[in-house]
């Protein structure tokens, strides 16, 4: 990914302020601090080194110790007065403060929540007027119906233990499995456990509200250094089936909450929704919930699948004499 110019500019200016306070820092330490590669640190220093006031002669430029750099250490010699730390813009203050408020709610009054609240107070004081805009934003707490399960998962994550799950999938299959927890993720609405599943021999994502029971095992979780966490609550849509739905305008709310969906307005006021679906059982559920708000599904085999599931529901009512 190519870094944006505002991102790099912000970092280079922040780096000058940081280097003023931290003389003779090893390149690796700067890289670690700003979460960039050592090569990028050198590239930034080299850019700063040739930057300065018009004229751009020696004495106009930001200067570093060449000797130190040869030894892998960065020492700022002349900052050209560019060593003031930058204040937060209103947009930056709002984005961080609202994220912190969401975190505070997600942690729900625990020890972490008070640390978050403390951080909010420090940040607000530093942001000044820029923080006031954040007052206009309210965030909702994730659902609370999963607390005991989420707590056990968090305990296993911090102590590095394996978990035993009893889980019901979107297709209503109940399974038992041992998993090594990797991450507990929330999208501010639901919680998800990302884990290495010993039964599937791969990384799987579990919705916490579908975990029927979870036990922390007296077994250490295996390390999984090769696993790259996507950090996304949505499943990987690369292997998804493309499904096209025609929805009534009343179902717009549903279409709008789907990440990666394409919504087209049809001439008669209906909507066309195109979406990549990884788990067709999920699609069955939402289509049955929408009922008459859906008037067409493509491809036909997907339409037949969901239709037969609805028919199975009707048959079950008939069996019990409820229709």
């Amino acid at each position: 990914m190519i870094e944006s110019a505002p991102d790099r500019l912000t970092r280079m200016l922040s780096m000058v302020a940081y280097l003023r306070d931290n003389p003779a820092v090893p390149v690796a330490e700067v890289a670690e601090h700003f979460r960039i590669s050592p090569e990028q640190v050198i590239a930034d220093v080299n850019t700063l080194w040739v930057s300065g006031t018009p004229g751009y002669m020696h004495g106009d430029l930001i200067d570093f110790s060449g000797d130190d750099l040869e030894h892998g250490v960065i020492t700022l010699l002349d900052s050209r007065d560019m060593d003031r730390p930058l204040r937060l813009s209103p947009g930056e203050a709002v984005a961080l403060l609202v994220a912190l408020q969401s975190l505070s709610l997600a942690f729900d009054h625990g020890e972490d929540a008070s640390l978050v609240d403390e951080t909010i107070a420090v940040l607000r004081a530093a942001a000044g007027d820029a923080a006031k805009a954040a007052d206009a934003v309210e965030v909702a707490a994730p659902r609370r119906d999963v607390d005991a399960r989420a707590e056990r998962i968090r305990a296993a994550l911090s102590t590095g233990r394996r978990l035993h799950l009893r889980y019901v999938s979107a297709s209503d299959q109940t399974t038992e499995r041992d998993v090594d927890p990797l991450q507990l993720l929330t999208d501010a609405t639901r919680w998800f456990l990302v884990a290495w599943c010993h039964r599937a021999q791969g990384v799987r994502q579990f919705r916490v509200d579908r975990i029927l029971d979870v036990q922390v095992l007296d077994v250490a979780a295996d390390p999984h250094p090769d696993v790259q966490l996507t950090g996304r609550p949505e499943p990987d849509t690369a292997q998804a089936a493309q499904v096209r739905l025609e929805l009534s305008s009343r179902a717009r709310w549903f279409a709008e909450q789907l990440p990666g969906a394409t919504i087209t307005e049809l001439d008669d006021g209906w909507l066309e929704l195109t979406i990549g679906v990884v788990d067709l059982a999920w699609l069955d559920n939402v289509v049955m919930a929408l009922g008459a708000e859906v008037r067409a599904i493509e491809p036909p085999e997907v339409a037949r699948r969901v239709s037969s599931r609805a028919q199975a529901g009707l048959d079950a009512y008939a069996e019990l004499g409820l229709i």
Partner: protein, 321 residues
Amino acid sequence: MSERVDAAERMLDLVIALSHTRHRMTKSEIRAKVHGYGTNSSTEAFERMFERDKEHLRDLGIPIVTLTDAVHEDEIGYRIDTAAYSLPPIDLTPAQMGVLSLAAEVWQDSAFAGSARRGLTKLKAVAGSSTTAAPGVALRVRGPDPAMSDLIEAIAERVPVRFTYRAAYSGETTVREVEPWRVHARDRGWYLVGYDRDRQAQRSFRTSRIVGKVQRVGEPGSVTIPEHRPPTPERVFHTPVRLAIRPESAAALRARGSVVDSIEGPTGARDVVALDVSDVEHVADEVAGYGHSVLVLDPPELREAVLARLRAVAALGGARS
């Protein structure tokens, strides 16, 4: 390297030049003297580049001040006041920096993601090390829609706004004039709450349905935001419901009620689960989604609402109902 990287170097030289200029620099001086601006073949290309850089710097909290000179009235000059852009003293503990790192990763795919990332970078200028907060726990939220930054700014400055809005049900667009009060996130969506001047009442607008730009239509300070925030109403649970649920399924529904009985059917036993609900239509959506796993015993209006959904969907595949 790409052009984007060059832009960072050019803006860096612009910031240094404009914060060192004794009084001000005019556009022609900038074009002639500041590294990176002289390469433009045309004045138009230079103007575009300079305007874009000015906009970027404003977003970063490094505003360029415009000055006119008594002697050269027609030529505008520019400078940056470094004192105005510095961060006040801030003392962040390693644990608090850990929390901020977690916060900077919350937003996905939106302007908020970039803003949070840059905000964290600025704080790193004055912070020491950080410790990992809440290991293994992460919050990922779809960031607000493009209109959000303009709306938050308008609320902060108490300015009325006008925008084109697509109605949820009809899909038709109308132009709305609103006194913006606050925004809130709910169920994976973002909403603006304010006073709708045409409807003369409080209204809520889903920001993803705002089409195009948000315009300001009044003076800063001309909006009065009501002091009292009405608390979110407590849910009233009043309709008793009995469901027949297959063993092990519908954990979320079971968690909200209790098993009171069990019944035997031709295809196996089902638990009878009793719970109270507040909104029958909402529960009908949820129950219908479970298909044959969850059946409604009572009340009849909930059962009919679920059956209507199942019948409509059964008809989609050409299956007989």
